[in-house]
Amino acid sequence: MKQGSIIFLKIVIVFIVIVALGGMIRFPLTEGRAVNLDLFSIYWDPFIVYMYIASIPFFVGLYQAFKLLGYIGQNKVFSLSSAKALRTIKYCAIMQSILIVMAILYIRTSHNVDDDPAGFIAIGILATFISVVIATAASVFERILQNAANIKSENNLTA
């Protein structure tokens, strides 16, 4: 039961990675400005490059979550390594929210006068909020794990 559920969550993470990567690679091609451009110029747009760079913490965070699931599967969840994975997730989520806010500010200040960036900004604010929630939840989990690891080491000492 436990192994099955861990494998399920791992599959979900891999699925999220595939969907996100697929979307990120495909999206620039569907933009209106891509019609008359060669492949290099399509992707060599400052904002698209920024998007790829800004997605790094997202994927690092997912990788850490994947590792964390591995620790759970090996019954090593109450350990320093899983606390470290959670800490990395926390930092990634904080960084991600900052990067999204920067993207929002860029779009807000430099969008075309004919464009209405309201939709982008709304989604950006939502994504920022979700990142902050993930960072907070990760820090709460980290502390709980730390507690449990301490109890366990105490246990080993007395035994």
Binding site: M1, K2, S5, I6, F8, L9, V12, I72, N75, V77, F78, V132, V133, T136, A137, S139, V140, R143, I144, N147, A148, I151, K152, E154, N155, T158, A159
Partner: protein, 160 residues
């Protein structure tokens, strides 16, 4: 720091609850009324949407309440207790119930998507239906872990 982070998460739960409550009060009646006006041939879906919409809200609010309780236990340093295992168990059941209800509602969505010629709606519906399952599986793992920690702790107490 500690109180602040759980307080923030509790606030988030309230925001989520408020949004869904607003959805229940304003959006569900409007959708169930609008379906019959937009596509007269689908007027029969009026009541299934109405009832189904409110039925899925019930496990959602129960799960939210249990998550709130869980955060309170964390606040009181009793994260590894029978109470939190119980709360996680309820969250698991609520997640499963929501997924089943959403999947049961898929035929409604498929009919609307066909009438509106918007196949993307089916995909979004499936994503909505599977998200509670992910939450349920996650809650199940946390439940196991909390149980583990309780066992370790009680062992500890025995030795001491």
């Amino acid at each position: 720091m500690k109180q602040a982070s759980t307080f923030f998460l509790k606030t988030t739960l309230f925001v989520m609850g408020g949004l869904v409550l607003a959805f229940c009060i304003f959006a569900i009646p409007a959708i169930s009324k609008g379906v019959g006006i937009e596509w007269p041939e689908l007027a029969g879906l009026k009541y299934p949407i109405f009832i189904g919409g409110y039925m899925t809200a019930i496990p959602f609010f129960i799960a939210l309440y249990q998550a709130f309780k869980l955060l309170s236990y964390i606040d009181k340093n009793t994260a590894f207790s029978a109470n939190s295992v119980e709360a996680l168990k309820y969250i698991k059941y609520c997640g499963i119930a929501m997924s089943i209800l959403y999947l049961a509602g898929m035929p409604i969505l498929i009919q609307i998507a066909e009438a509106d010629d918007a196949p993307g709606a089916i995909l979004i519906g499936l994503a909505f239906a599977l998200t509670p399952t992910v939450v349920a599986v996650f809650a199940a793992i946390l439940q196991k872990l909390a149980q583990n920690a309780i066992d370790i702790k009680s062992e500890n107490d025995l030795v001491v």
